[in-house]
C-alpha cells in the first residue's frame, strides 16, 4: 500500500524532534537533512518544518549535470550518488526550497531520501515516526484523499503543487491549517 509524507504546518511546535530523529535512522551519517524555521521569532512561537517535498519532476535532478540525483520507484528523490556527484552545487541553487545541503569536505551534496531503506518497505520515515504533534504524518492515498475533502484547498490543489513552484510533489502540504473550516462541536 503506497503511503506518502503529509505535512500539517499548523501543528508544529518547533521541538525539532524531526531533526533529531533524522540523525538517528542508522544510515544518514548522523547528519540531519531538513529544516525547522521560526516563522516570526520576535512576535510569536510559530514554527514550521521545511522538508524535502520529493517533487515529481525535481529541479535538483534536472539541474544535475552528472545525473547523480536518482529518483526511486517510490517517488523518493534520493541523495546524490557518491560516485557521480561532481560537487558543482547546481542542485542547491535549483531547488526552490533550498533543501540539498553541501558537504565541502567530501565535495558532496546530501539531502533527504525519505529514509528510503524504511519507506521502501512501508515503514514510516524517522521524522514522521517521532513527530509528537502529527505535523508530519505517513498516510495512505485514501487518508490523503480524505484530508483533501476535509479541507478547503485553493483551486482544490495542495499549496505546494503549484505551477510557479515545482508542480506536483509526492509530499503533500496542508496550508494554511487544519483548523480551517472545522465545525465546532457546540
Amino acid at each position: 500500500m503506497k503511503k506518502r509524507l503529509y505535512i500539517e504546518l499548523e501543528n508544529c511546535i518547533g521541538c525539532r524532534s524531526c531533526l533529531a530523529a533524522c540523525t538517528q535512522c542508522g544510515g544518514h551519517e548522523e547528519r540531519n537533512r531538513n529544516y525547522v524555521y521560526d516563522v516570526n521569532p520576535l512576535v510569536n512561537r510559530q514554527t514550521m518544518p521545511l522538508m524535502c517535498l520529493h517533487c515529481v519532476n525535481p529541479a535538483c535532478a534536472r539541474s544535475c549535470p552528472a545525473q547523480a540525483i536518482q529518483i526511486h520507484e517510490t517517488g523518493a528523490v534520493l541523495s546524490a550518488l557518491v560516485e557521480k556527484c561532481i560537487g558543482c552545487q547546481n542542485c542547491t541553487i535549483a531547488c526552490p526550497y533550498g533543501i540539498p545541503k553541501f558537504d565541502t569536505e567530501q565535495n558532496l551534496m546530501y539531502k533527504c531520501d525519505l529514509c528510503i531503506d524504511r519507506t521502501k518497505d512501508g515503514i514510516p520515515p524517522m521524522c514522521a515516526s517521532v513527530c509528537p504533534t502529527n505535523t508530519l504524518q505517513w498516510l495512505t492515498e485514501e487518508e490523503i484523499e480524505a484530508k483533501q475533502q476535509q479541507f478547503n484547498l485553493d483551486n482544490g490543489k495542495w499549496v505546494t503543487s503549484m505551477q510557479y513552484l515545482e508542480n506536483e510533489t509526492n509530499v503533500k502540504v496542508n496550508l494554511p491549517g487544519i483548523l480551517q473550516g472545522v465545525t465546532k462541536l457546540f
Binding site: I13, G14, S17, T23, G26, Q46, V130, T133, T183, F186
Partner: protein
C-alpha cells in the same frame, strides 16, 4: 490493550547485528515507549528506534527522547568512585581522585558513624529524587530509616509534584496524578490546561491535544506566556504569574451563576459546595480580571466553554503548583470538575502533567519525609506498625517524620544536619535561593553524592559514587497516568558503576545493618520486597507483577491482587477516598504571591523549561544535539518593556532579585505579558535562575514559589558583588 485511532501496526526496521530492547524514556512523566538499539557484538547501546506499539505515545518522541540513549555511553560518565581529600576545594570540580569501592564505602561508613556518634542519628540526611524506579525509591526510604536510622529524608518531588499530591489528597482523598488514561484525552470535548507548557514539557501529549481541536472541541490555556500550545488555544487566559487561585475562583463563580452545576452529583458525592459558592461570589469577572490581568470577556468565554462541554478534562502542571499556594491552586481548579460532575467517567476528569519520570511512583513509597511504602503515613501508628513489622524493626525504632527538601538545607545551615547522602538529584541547580543552598552544601561536615555525571551538586561532595543510567538496570516506574510500566536493562553497567539499590545494600552492610538488606541480591529481589511492602496501603502495587505489566501494556494502580487488572479510570463508582466516600469542594480565599512587585523590583519573574532540556540540565546539557539547539539561558521580555529599559534583542542584561542576580542574553518576543519576564531554569553555576527565585513555601506541600517573584533589570552588566 488500548488500540486507539493513532495506533498503527508497524514492524520496526532491524539493522544487522543489532537487537532492540523495549523500554521507556529516561526523562519526563510521559515515559514514552522506545526501543534501544543494542549492538550484539559489543553489547552496547548504539541508538534508538520508535516503539510504535506503546499505546501512550505510539512511537512518537520529543528531541530529548530521541537522543536519550546517548547518556549511557557518554564520555562524561563517572566510571569509578571518586574521593576528594582536600575540603577547601568543595564547590569546584577540582581535587577528586579515583578510588576503589571498598575505600569509598569505608570512608563513608567511618564518617557517617563518627557524625552519628557525636551528634546523634538525625545528624545525617538523605536527599533523593524521582527520576529512578519505584524499587529504588522504596529502598531509599528504607535505607534512610533502617540503615541510617535518620528522620531526615526528603526528595526533589518537593520542587515538582508535592502541590499536586497535596491538592488531590485534599480534594479526592487520594493522590493519583490523572483520574483517566491519556488515551482518553483526544476524545474529550474541552481541554482546560493551566500552567502547563505542554508542547515543550510533555510534547508527546500534543497530537492528542491538537486532535481535540481538529474534532471541533475546544482548548483553553491559562499561562502568562503565549507558549506553543497557547498560540493555538481557543481562549488564552494570559494571567499574571501567581494569580491562578483568583482565576479558578472566578471561573467557578461563573459556572455556578450560569447553571452548570451538576446538583445531583454535588449533593450525593461531594462536601463543601455551599461555603465554596459563598466564597467565590466576590470573584466577579471584573474583580477576577483586576487581580489576574485577564480580560473579563475571556474569563466569561472560558467558563462558558468548560460549562457547556459534554466532556472536559482539567489539566495543570508546575505553573500553578510551584507557588506558595500551589495546593490551593490544585484544589481550586479541581473544584471545576467537582461542581460540574465532569469526573469519574471516561473522557472527563482531572490530571496533572507529572514532571519527573517517576514523579508519581516515587512520591508514594517512602522517600517523602512523612511517608512510608504504599502511601502509608509516618504519623499514623497503625501504618508505622505495619511497615516496622515488615522491615523487622520495632515501631520505636522507626524515626519520626522529618522536614521538607528546602527545610533540610535550613537545618544544614543550622548545623542540625551535618552529613548528606545525595542521589538522583541536583539541588545546587534545582532548589530555589541557590546562594543559600550552595552554602549549606559547602558547609556540610561530610557529603556523599551518587550520580552518573559530575553534577553541580556533586561538586560539593567528599565522595562521589558512580551510579548507572536508567538503561543499565531494570524495574518499574509509574507514569503520569498512574500506569505502572517496566524499564528494561539494555546493557551491563559501564565501568564500575552500580545501581543505587546495590549501593544501598552494600553500604547498609558496612554500617552493620546487613541483616535488613543482604537478602536483596538482584533487582527482582528488590521488586518483590517492594510490591509486598505496598500491600494494604492505598497505593497498592502488590498485584502489579512484571508479567502483568508486559501483558497489559502497563498496570494502573490501585492493583491489589493477581486477578486485579488495575484501575485505568478512577472514581467510576463515584466513590472518593475520604472516609465518607465523598470528594471535597474547597472554599479557598485568594492570596497574592509571597513577593509582589514594588518600586524597587517592578517586574514579575517566572521560570520554566524549554523543549530541549530536562530539569537541572545535568543530563541534557551534555547531549550534543540538545546543547546545539539551546546552549544557554536567556531572558524573555516583551518589546514594549524592553523599550522602557532601552534594551535590545540579544543584548546582555543583569537580572536581580532580593536573593541574587545573574546575567542573561535578551530574547525579545511579544508572546509574554508586559509585566513579566521569563528565564528557563536548566542551567548551572552563575547562569542559574534559581539564584534569584523565592523559597516561600506552601504551608501544606512545602513547595517553593519558583513561579512568581519580584525582579529588576539593570542594563549595565557590571556585577554588584
Amino acid at each position: 490493550m488500548q488500540r486507539d485511532k493513532f495506533f498503527r501496526e508497524i514492524e520496526n526496521l532491524q539493522h544487522p547485528n543489532e537487537t532492540l530492547v523495549k523500554t521507556h524514556c529516561s526523562y519526563c512523566g510521559m515515559q514514552c515507549g522506545m526501543n534501544l538499539r543494542v549492538d550484539t557484538r559489543t553489547n552496547k547501546i548504539i541508538g534508538v528506534e520508535p516503539r510504535y506499539d506503546w499505546p501512550v505515545n505510539v512511537g512518537k518522541m520529543c528531541p530529548k527522547g530521541v537522543t536519550a540513549y546517548q547518556q549511557t555511553n557518554h564520555d562524561d560518565r563517572i566510571l569509578k568512585p571518586l574521593i576528594r581529600d582536600d575540603k577547601s576545594l568543595k564547590g569546584t570540580i577540582k581535587g577528586f581522585r579515583e578510588a576503589s569501592w571498598d575505600e569509598a564505602y569505608d570512608l563513608i561508613a567511618k564518617n557517617f558513624q563518627k557524625l552519628q556518634q557525636a551528634y546523634g542519628k538525625d545528624s545525617l540526611s538523605v536527599f533523593s529524587g524521582v527520576s529512578m524506579t519505584n524499587e529504588k525509591c522504596y529502598l531509599t526510604g528504607k535505607f534512610a530509616r533502617v540503615a541510617l536510622g535518620t528522620r531526615y529524608i526528603d526528595y526533589n518531588g518537593r520542587f515538582c509534584m508535592s502541590s499536586a499530591a497535596g491538592g488531590f489528597l485534599r480534594s479526592f482523598g487520594v493522590d493519583r496524578g490523572s483520574t483517566l488514561p491519556w488515551t482518553d484525552l483526544h476524545e474529550t470535548d474541552c481541554l482546560f490546561i493551566a500552567g502547563s507548557n505542554t508542547a515543550e514539557c510533555h510534547p508527546t501529549s500534543m497530537f492528542r491535544v491538537w486532535h481535540v481541536q481538529e474534532r471541533g472541541g475546544y482548548l483553553i490555556v491559562a499561562d502568562p506566556r503565549e507558549t506553543p500550545i497557547a498560540r493555538r488555544a481557543d481562549v488564552h487566559l494570559d494571567l499574571r504569574p501567581g494569580t491562578d487561585l483568583a482565576l479558578a475562583n472566578g471561573i467557578l463563580n461563573l459556572l455556578i451563576e450560569n447553571g452548570h452545576v451538576d446538583e445531583q452529583f454535588v449533593n450525593n458525592h461531594t462536601n463543601g459546595f455551599e461555603e465554596t459558592k459563598e466564597l467565590v461570589k466576590q470573584f466577579t469577572p471584573e474583580y477576577t480580571s483586576e487581580i489576574t490581568g485577564v480580560l473579563p470577556e475571556k474569563i466569561i468565554r472560558a467558563a462558558e466553554i468548560y460549562g457547556k462541554a459534554p466532556n472536559a478534562v482539567v489539566m495543570f502542571a508546575r505553573g500553578i503548583e510551584q507557588q506558595h499556594k500551589g495546593v490551593d491552586n490544585v484544589s481550586a481548579y479541581t473544584n471545576m470538575a467537582l461542581i460540574t460532575g465532569k469526573i469519574g467517567r471516561p473522557k472527563s476528569g482531572v490530571a496533572t502533567f507529572t514532571g519527573q519520570g517517576n514523579g508519581q511512583g516515587g512520591r508514594e513509597h517512602g522517600q517523602k519525609s512523612d511517608l512510608l511504602p504504599g502511601y502509608r503515613k509516618l504519623t499514623n501508628p497503625q501504618h508505622v506498625k505495619e511497615v516496622s513489622e515488615f522491615w523487622g524493626i520495632t515501631p520505636e525504632e522507626m524515626p519520626e517524620p522529618g522536614v521538607s527538601a528546602y527545610e533540610m538545607f535550613e537545618l544544614m545551615d543550622q548545623k542540625v544536619i551535618r552529613g548528606l547522602y545525595l542521589l538522583c538529584s541536583n539541588p545546587a541547580v534545582s532548589a530555589p535561593n541557590s546562594n543559600f543552598v550552595r552554602k549549606a552544601l559547602k558547609d556540610l561536615d561530610f557529603m556523599v553524592c551518587s550520580d552518573f555525571y559530575l553534577s553541580e551538586s556533586a561538586e560539593f561532595a567528599d565522595v562521589i559514587l558512580p551510579a548507572v543510567t536508567w538503561s543499565e538496570d531494570e524495574g518499574t516506574v509509574t507514569n503520569l497516568e498512574g500506569r505502572i510500566i517496566k524499564i528494561n536493562k539494555a546493557q551491563e553497567p559501564l565501568g564500575e558503576s552500580k545501581p543505587d539499590w546495590q549501593i544501598q545494600v552494600e553500604l547498609a552492610e558496612r554500617l552493620g545493618r546487613g541483616k535488613y538488606f543482604s537478602h536483596l541480591k538482584t533487582a527482582v529481589d528488590v521488586a518483590d520486597e517492594f510490591r509486598a511492602a505496598t500491600k494494604g496501603g492505598y497505593a497498592d502495587y502488590s498485584g502489579a507483577t512484571w508479567d502483568k505489566i508486559e501483558k497489559q501494556d502497563g498496570v494502573f494502580w490501585p492493583c491489589k491482587s493477581e486477578e486485579d487488572e488495575g484501575t485505568p479510570h478512577m472514581f467510576l463508582d463515584k466513590k472518593f477516598y475520604h472516609p465518607d466516600g465523598k470528594a471535597k469542594i474547597c472554599a479557598l480565599p485568594y492570596r497574592p504571591p509571597a513577593e509582589e512587585p514594588d518600586e524597587e523590583y517592578p517586574l514579575r519573574l517566572t521560570t520554566g523549561r524549554v523543549v530541549y532540556h530536562y530539569l537541572s540540565g545535568n543530563q541534557t546539557r551534555r547531549i550534543q544535539f540538545l546543547r546545539d539547539m539551546c546552549p544557554e539561558p536567556y531572558i524573555e521580555i516583551h518589546p514594549e518593556t524592553a523599550a522602557k529599559y532601552d534594551i535590545k534583542h540579544e543584548e546582555l542584561v543583569r537580572l536581580y532579585t532580593r536573593r541574587g542576580e545573574a546575567i542573561y542574553k535578551v530574547k525579545i518576543i511579544e508572546a509574554i505579558r508586559k509585566d513579566t519576564v521569563f528565564v528557563p531554569y536548566h542551567f548551572g553555576h552563575d547562569q542559574s535562575i534559581n539564584l534569584l527565585t523565592n523559597p516561600a513555601l506552601d504551608p501544606i506541600s512545602r513547595m517553593p514559589e519558583f513561579k512568581a517573584c519580584a525582579a529588576q533589570i539593570d542594563k549595565s552588566i557590571k556585577k554588584v558583588h
